[in-house]
Symmetry: C2
Subunit: 266 residues, 2 copies
Amino acid sequence: MSDSDLPAYPKLARNTVQRYGKPRGKYDCKTIHEIVNTTQVLHVSFPTPDPTDPFPAMIPMLGFMASYESQTDISSPLDLYLHGYISSRLMRLGQTSPNEEEEEGLPLTIAATHLDGLVLALTPNSHSYNYRSAILHGYATPVEDAEEKLWAMKKITNGVVDERWENSRIPPTKTEMTSTQILRVRIVDASAKVRSGGPSDDRADMKNDDIRAKTWIGVVPTWTMYGTPIESPENRVQKIPEHITKYITRENEAAEKKAVAAVKRK
Amino acid sequence: MSDSDLPAYPKLARNTVQRYGKPRGKYDCKTIHEIVNTTQVLHVSFPTPDPTDPFPAMIPMLGFMASYESQTDISSPLDLYLHGYISSRLMRLGQTSPNEEEEEGLPLTIAATHLDGLVLALTPNSHSYNYRSAILHGYATPVEDAEEKLWAMKKITNGVVDERWENSRIPPTKTEMTSTQILRVRIVDASAKVRSGGPSDDRADMKNDDIRAKTWIGVVPTWTMYGTPIESPENRVQKIPEHITKYITRENEAAEKKAVAAVKRK
């Protein structure tokens, strides 16, 4: 199946990858969802309510992509759920704006980025990163339905560490439920940009034996590492539970493998 | 010297940390510059030129903070330099806008975020991350001066790996100089948000012996890891140079140490 046959987000002017768009731009759901769902911190940007303030607001947030209504898999369009606090003033703003489109919620731009490697080339200009990044646009509204909220809270917690929800004190209290804000973002469009492979140098430099003889070229694979868990002085459980140790081992191994595999991939 | 005596960025309405502002919000230059200058990928957001498009643009970019004019140290206000491509159409937009303030350049919001640890508490609601994040606002203009551009390009390259500039083919060709875009961002305001320490649970949960007996609490330290360099099939230098191996060892050790130290710090 070629890339263009995969279920994808619409390719609009604003989400079309411009620089190196041909080899690196991706619009299929699977690539985008995998990037988002393996990113521990998303960056979320939105216009501020003050029309004289030219700077968009930006906050780091936790989130994941899934569908609450249907059990669609990762290859079909999904909603993005965010955990974190956007002031109710801003959320209301989205809903009461005179702009018809904005009535659908607060317009958000969401970024998820993985650094996979430092690409060291013959000349500074040809240096690069291996990376997988996704940018999504959509309208956010707060999740009001208690069941959907609980479902999202469980997914957020188990996104931090596998099975953490089941291995901590649940269900949340009434106060915890009301103090938690979950946003559902209906995605309008999205794109990913992926760079893999080794260094790619200009022909003139590659033909220069002097430079070739003294300049090491290759890739330093890069990934997010989880270290040895450090217990709280208040902890009473002697052995670190398997849901934590297994998660750390699996994630570290998979992340290193992925960063190394990216070097070989064109 | 107390926090408030340190050189700091102005605390305006838009950059005042709202949630947990008291323990976590920081405005001093040193904290903010250290976060930015140790981040391999920054997230940059700006308004799009299309007034009917409600979504801010967002791109991952490389950058660093320094002062070209004066040899100020990291504790004083600095400029932010970005390497990467923002279309000249957008850059012109900033300069020809009717809004007087925007004539100073394109308004950018820049985020730098380090994840330092997964904080596992008794209940999902008390789970958290240890992190250091910075958000900066400023006006970007392209660097036209050749010497300043060269200085910034060298700093960008040596920010990826120590001494990489000196260890690759320099100086850049004329084409490389003109095809590279460097932006200088004059910072208007900035803030950092830092969370450290172990889990902090509610008193009711801490008094519950059943929950305490079965729920492990503590922190999983987290950092960016650099793996074993993988040479390009075209590489002709037998031994991986010291400027690379030393950088990897030092960065990995420092990053792990920092993530572990954050757990003990209040």
